[in-house]
Symmetry: none
Subunit: 126 residues, 2 copies
DNA sequence: GAAACCTTGACACGACCGTGGTAAGGTTCC
DNA sequence: GGAACCTTACCACGGTCGTGTCAAGGTTTC
């Protein structure tokens, strides 16, 4: 067969089974089910799971954010409203480096990341 | 003068002064400052504050989500990555009328392109 | 020069997020 | 028929979000 169970999928994608279920509940990746209700992850899902991890770690964004992006592409009205709001934003051509607010936004995570990077990824639970 | 202090702005926009500072910190609306450092909200800011409230309550989205949308429009690389992830998603044709979807896709791409073209090459990722 | 604003910084708190664990029960495999 | 997996449903925990409040100090106005 061409599909992995949740544990196998977790191993090859570097998620935990717990998180795979969480991701499904967030509506991001919903594998098909076997007759008995077992989740079955195909190659496409596995690839998307890896890419998802890449997205979240590389750009430091949460699943909620990706969920919002998904909502944005599905709900044209919402997308339009958000768009309209940004349209009304004043342009600052070359006034101030706009990375100030970004730094703040990522600052909250930086400590965590630094900490996680410093700590060896041993089995934290016993 | 043509600008309100934080308390006045709060009253006419139905936010609290606290939240106005929070919104500023989130990078969403940054009023100019007086000589002494007082926040000064002009008509544009007031309007955007009201629209922001409309957005958050009507669509039930948080400031973090709007911040993410802002990040999406500023960081073309991130936008592309998120886009790519969605491209690999399986479509469900019966959920979305194809014409609608296509129009949305085209629209999004054109906006993205316009943004990338307009944005100076400041994409020096970390 | 005092009242009434403004500033930043901190503590607090309920709600949710990301994540792990565990329990009670069904399925698959040998 | 038991081991090893799967399911859902909870509890727990630290972190972030949205929000209020308070303190210590500067500014504006009369």
């Amino acid at each position: 067969m061409d599909a992995l169970t949740i544990q196998e999928a977790a191993q090859t994608t570097d998620w935990s089974p717990r998180m795979l279920r969480y991701i499904e509940r967030a509506g991001l990746i919903e594998p098909r089910r076997s007759q008995a209700g077992y989740r079955l992850y195909g190659p496409g899902e596995l690839q998307r799971l890896r890419t998802l991890r890449e997205l979240t770690t590389r750009y430091d964004i949460g699943l909620g954010e990706i969920g919002f992006a998904m909502r944005l592409r599905r709900d044209a009205e919402l997308a339009g409203a958000v768009d309209a709001w940004f349209e009304a934003q004043p342009r600052r051509p070359e006034e101030v480096p706009p990375a100030e607010w970004l730094r703040w936004e990522q600052d909250k995570h930086s400590k965590l990341l630094a900490l996680a990077a410093a700590a060896p990824p041993a089995t934290s639970h016993a």
